[in-house]
Amino acid sequence: MSATPAAVNQMPREHYLNATYGIRSWLLTTDHKRIALLYLASVTFFFFIGGAFATMIRIHLLSPKGLLVTPETYNKLFTMHGVAMIFFFLIPSIPAVLGNFLLPIMIGAKDLAFPKINLLSWYIYLIGGCFVLYSFSTGGLDTGWTFYTPLSSVYSNSAVTPAVLGVFINGFSSILTGLNFIVTVHTMRAPGMTWFRLPLFVWAQYATSIIFILGTPVIAITLLLAGLERMFHLGFFNPALGGDPILFQHLFWFYSHPAVYIMILPAMGVISEIIPTFARKPIFGYSFIAGSSIAIAVIGFFVWAHHMFVTGESTYAALTFSLLSYLVAIPSAVKVFNWTSTLYKGSISYDTPMLYALGFIGLFLIGGLTGLFLACLGLDIHLHDTYFVIAHFHYIMVGGAVMGYVGGLHYWWPKITGKLYPEYLARIAAITLFLGFNLTFFPQFILGYLGMPRRYASYPPEFQVLNVMSTAGASILALGYLLPMIYLTWSMRYGEVAGPNPWPATGLEWRTPSPPPTENFEVTPEVTWEPYDYDNRPDLGLDVSGAPALAHGDD
């Protein structure tokens, strides 16, 4: 801290956390910041459920014949891991927690456009979650998270119906969040907050919301049809009754591929906020990063059939989808190049959020480039349904989306709680997470390339070394997740008081007290500056004339 010593900082007397008390004031709140915390608690709960299944999978795979469970149970473990993590953790994580908390503050609004709908979305999420937990605890689910028919609609003996209903219901929570965000960005911006002054995090949330409202209804109707098929013995997707299982896959991936961008786009938004803050520089190529978010969302709708190269589709369709899948790499690369250009000649400080952001860039790069392997028609025949695919999408979803989420939680934690977390411990956790992650998933690229198929409960003995490495990595990774859980919770009570702008950063959210008051700003702010403009912000107390300013943690 160069301008104000930390000792001067005091918690504001009244803020959103202490404005009202009691369980009703939380369960019936329409304050987007409180709803964000409700989401934080519930997605963390599902993260641990999904994590528990992952732990069992990794323990089971320690030995070639399988150590822990029967093959039937193993099918349930990876299915329930996927369903819990994708639908109930990854998809809502950044939008519903960080997006909910930050979007209105970042654009200078008092709340989202529809606060009651925002609360409704959380309750819908909970109801969907209850259905899925009911399925998990009464026979489990063994169809794979993809619910492919006719396995899910005819042959599976597990509790498919409640799970399908749960995911169906949960979809409406996503739709309502997306609707709220789109309308909020259009109509609730503060005076002077033009579209090209929006923080890049907001652009990313906007792009994500487009996928929410246009993609989610398709999975909703698809799962509804599959559920009806199972309940009433109908034939939409059942070849024995004249239906078409390939149609299910098309409809499923029409949502579920864009859903990958629902997970990664918001994380990219987080990284676009963190990088300029800790490089003390305006972001390089603002409009290109903003535009590439929209481009990813739009192109992302036209690549779904690359999941089906070996399922059966015409060569021309496969060629087209392969080409389009390559195209989506371009806006992704635009972002990576712009982040690295922002770092160039920046005055970089390695605070915890920055460690996550740098980790993100590296891991996303690997995850993205291996995606090109899979988009290649010939190579995909070799790699399809192997651990290479598993490693690829975990690099995107865990290395990308979860790193972005945890990094973002650290970056905005002082804003959310008003307290600083222990920096030294946090850096250790970030490095632990990075190392544990790579040790877990890098061996899986090799395993997949050597031909180990996914979803099998056993494997040939020569794959054991790599599998043991992966399990060892997973235990380090678990530690990397537990540490932040502990010290972030600890800091809520015992952490040092953060002050309004501890990093310091340029966004509107840092110009209101931490934690913010219920109405976010005492007076509606008027925006007269360009985004990330470190050169023209004397109010931040940075010395921009000569030597790089001392960063938080360096003093």
């Binding site: 609004a109 008092k110 709340d111 989202l112 456009a113 529809f114 606060p115 739709i175 609707l179 789109i182 309308v183 259009h186 109509t187 609730m188 409202i213 246009l214 993609g215 989610t216 209804p217 398709v218 909703a220 109707i221 698809t222 049809l225 009806l228 009433f232 013995h233 109908l234 034939g235 939409f236 024995a240 009754l241 004249g242 239906g243 078409d244 149609l247 409809l251 109405e519 509606t524």
Partner: protein, 217 residues
């Protein structure tokens, strides 16, 4: 509960509040379009795979109730549009009348739909264990006809569900309009529910030819 045109605390101006509500409805309707799109896709694919059975199955549906329903629904769109107009120009006595007319037409539609469903029940054309397309039809024809009727019930059922939700919204609008809540300055709910009602009508405009009129020329 907020009264006539009161400003909710998250907005700065009434103009902003109006714009926000209207945009919210349009975004919601775009979601609805994609929601029905999955069904239309399934229909299109199956009809192109089994054109003959779909045409035969479609001909077993009586034409007149569907045609009558189309007229009823278009008429209800007119009365809904008149409701929006009445609220905009401040005809406080006319507004409830038009809303009641819309509600009655919507209910007539649902009644005729129920009559049609009953027909299907009598003919064993409801998909499931008791489905039987025609006496003597082979297993494949039976299965493919069942696909048609699954889609028929899926599509018209989802549409009817939207009608029922719409009727509920109309009842609420009616109550509020009788309290004189809507003025030329504040009529966003009428306008938004009007948009919703027209959307549901348009869905039917597509459903009617797709389900009732295959090869009937």
């Amino acid at each position: 509960m907020h009264r006539t045109g009161e400003l909710y605390e998250q907005y700065r101006t009434l103009e902003q509040q109006r714009e926000t509500a209207s945009l919210g409805m349009w975004v919601f309707l775009s979601t609805e379009v994609l929601f029905f799109a999955g069904l239309f896709m399934t229909y299109t694919l199956n009809r192109s795979t089994y054109p003959d059975v779909f045409s035969e199955a479609s001909k077993t549906i009586k034409l007149w109730p569907g045609a009558l329903n189309t007229v009823v629904l278009i008429a209800s769109s007119l009365t809904m549009a008149l409701s929006v107009w009445a609220s905009q120009v401040g005809k406080k006595k006319l507004l409830p009348l038009f809303l009641i007319a819309t509600l009655i037409l919507g209910t007539v539609f649902l009644g005729i739909k129920a009559y049609e469903y009953h027909d299907k029940y009598v003919e064993h054309h409801i998909p499931g264990w008791n489905f039987n397309f025609e006496p003597g039809a082979d297993a494949a024809t039976n299965a493919h006809a069942q696909l048609f009727f699954s889609l028929y019930f899926g599509m018209t059922g989802l549409h009817a569900l939207h009608m029922i939700v719409g009727a509920g919204l109309l009842i609420w609008l009616l109550r509020e309009s009788l309290r004189g809540r809507f003025t030329p300055e504040y009529n966003t709910p009428v306008e938004n529910i009007g948009l919703y009602w027209h959307f549901v009508d348009i869905v039917w405009i597509f459903l009617f030819p797709l389900l009732y009129l295959i090869d009937r020329h």
